[in-house]
């Protein structure tokens, strides 16, 4: 049956759109860290999903213990940033410039981390309790009402996006990162301690994944297997948007999340196909990603 314009359920459409934006926000926060790390260091960090999951568990523990969601997300950001810095210093810095070896090492780390987290937190799903103030529904045009927490997630992603833009374009560390993405050897030849910049950027990227874990664990849920899911989504997002580009991560996250959400809502059987169709189309037409640069 062919729907006419009047028959379209606009309320459902609005809710699906908002769900898509929510998912896009989460994908963006996770993938921006992944893309930042890749852009500067050329490391495909296959443990990025593990950092996400670790952040979710740390956020869960801290917010349970203190009763504060804010403390939970801050703790997750800090702890996971430290874990990321440790990963760079203790493992990846020893194989600098050997991209494949680094990717394989991070796969190893992700497998070990997944088992350690399973041993610690078990196989069941957790939900991180949101503050009372945002556990409500607010009226939204067309959609009727929508969860405040999900709208906040969209806002949070915007804040992160703007903050990253400001850091990259208005600060000295941002200048160093951009120069390093262009030509990291020439950056080092200008007297910049590039290994130190690497550790800092790894910490920022990991911290973003950790905070995303808490948000994802609050709006959705936390359970084993989420690490692989968000690693996969980050990979697709940066392949579509372009490796190393933050605006690319935003566009990629929007495209992938929207395709996934609309697909699941309207053609449930083929939901997952659209994501990969987008990826294949981008790879065929623009292999470096929509906003990526040719290598």
């Amino acid at each position: 049956m062919i729907e006419t314009l009047a028959d379209i359920n606009w309320r459902l459409f609005a809710i699906v759109t908002l769900n898509g934006l929510t998912l896009a926000s989460l994908y963006f926060i996770v993938a921006s860290g992944f893309s930042l790390i890749f852009g500067l260091m050329r490391v495909v960090n296959m443990a990025h999903g593990s950092l996400y999951l670790l952040g979710a568990y740390v956020g869960f523990e801290v917010s349970e213990a203190t009763g504060s969601w804010i403390l939970g997300i801050l703790a997750a950001g800090v702890v996971v940033a430290a874990a990321g810095a440790a990963l760079q210093v203790s493992i990846l810095s020893w194989m600098q410039g050997q991209d494949l070896r680094q990717a394989l090492a991070t796969i190893g780390v992700s497998i070990v981390a997944a088992d350690l987290m399973l041993a610690q937190w078990g196989g069941s799903a957790y939900q991180i309790a949101l503050p009372e103030a945002v556990s409500t529904f607010v009226p939204v045009p067309v959609a009727g009402r929508y969860a405040m927490a999900r709208l906040m997630l969209i806002g949070f992603a915007l804040v992160i996006g703007v903050a990253l833009w400001l850091i990259l374009n208005r600060t000295r560390i941002g200048m160093l990162i951009r120069a390093g993405v262009d030509d990291r050897r020439m950056l080092e030849a200008m007297g910049v301690n590039v290994p130190l910049v690497f550790v800092g950027v790894f910490a920022i990227g990991a911290g973003l994944a950790g905070m995303a874990g808490v948000i994802g664990g609050s709006v959705l849920s936390v359970s084993p297997g989420e690490d692989a899911r968000y690693l996969l989504s980050s990979l697709i997002v940066v392949i579509v948007g372009g490796m190393g580009s933050i605006p690319g991560a935003a566009i990629g996250a929007l495209l992938v999340a929207m395709a996934e959400t609309y697909g699941l809502a309207y053609t449930p059987t083929y939901g997952i196909v659209y994501t990969f169709a987008i990826m294949v189309a981008v790879l065929a037409v623009r292999p470096q990603g929509l906003l990526g640069r040719a290598a």
């Binding site: 000295r172 160093l176 951009r178 262009d182 080092e188 030849a189 200008m190």
Partner: protein, 237 residues
């Protein structure tokens, strides 16, 4: 120590994989400019990179004023006082001219951002432009400025006139002569013999990863047989 030469390279061996690029190269340079000429593929760029710590030396030594450089990471070599102007200029295309200078420049040194703008007014005009939007000549000015802002004791330049228009080449030569007079050591790698001989009196010819000949600008210019033997047709241009 006071008697140590500014730059001393001794018995330097560098390999790329299994190919032996530098075969026990030795040279000394003071604050007087030194040009290194030679055909393509003789190891000139490799020598620059080995001095900078960008490629590892298998054997031998690089010393700056007696201080051993090799084995250090490139940023430590730069901080020890070696400025590097790479082949192909390699300016950062995501950074504006001003950002390039701010990245390296520190207040209080001999070279400041203001002095750079005085020396290269063209860069001041283009200060908001991205590195990728500059012409070849402007990029070269920027690459030289970036290295000067480190206030180096030695400037290593790898083919700074490559691919530039003749009028721009003349300007670069002027700048290099001025740098040479300012007391900064200059190691200039050049394919363009006319540039090399205008900038420095002392010339070394590299062949097969070694210094094959040390001579002066006048003899090299006046001896056609010598040029043909060491430089072939490439240097006649």
């Amino acid at each position: 120590m006071a008697n140590d030469p500014l730059l001393k390279v001794e018995d330097l061996h560098v390999y790329y994989g299994s190919s032996h690029v530098l075969h026990g190269l030795s040279l000394e340079a003071g604050t007087e400019p030194l040009s290194l000429v030679g055909r393509n593929g003789m190891g000139k760029s490799t020598l620059c990179q080995a001095i900078m710590g960008l490629v590892p030396a298998a054997r031998g030594e690089v010393r700056l004023g007696g201080e051993r450089l090799n084995g250090r990471r490139a940023y430590r070599v730069a901080r020890a006082g070696v400025g590097y102007v790479p082949q192909g200029r390699r300016v950062y295309r995501s950074l504006s001219v001003e950002e390039h200078l701010k990245l390296v420049g520190k207040p209080g040194g001999e070279w400041t951002i203001e002095r750079i703008y005085d020396t290269f007014p063209r860069l001041a005009e283009r200060r908001k432009n991205g590195g990728g939007a500059l012409s070849g000549g402007e990029q070269q000015m920027l690459a030289i400025s970036r290295a000067l802002l480190l206030n180096p004791r030695l400037l290593v330049m790898d083919e700074p006139t490559e691919g530039l228009a003749p009028v721009i080449v003349d300007h670069v030569v002027e700048v290099l002569r001025e740098i040479g007079r300012s007391g900064v050591g200059l190691l200039l790698v050049e394919q363009n013999l006319s540039v090399a001989t205008q900038v420095s009196d002392r010339i070394m010819v590299m062949m097969n990863g070694e210094i094959a000949l040390e001579t002066d600008a006048e003899s090299l210019l006046n001896d056609r047989a010598l040029r043909n033997r060491y430089l072939g047709v490439a240097a006649e241009a």
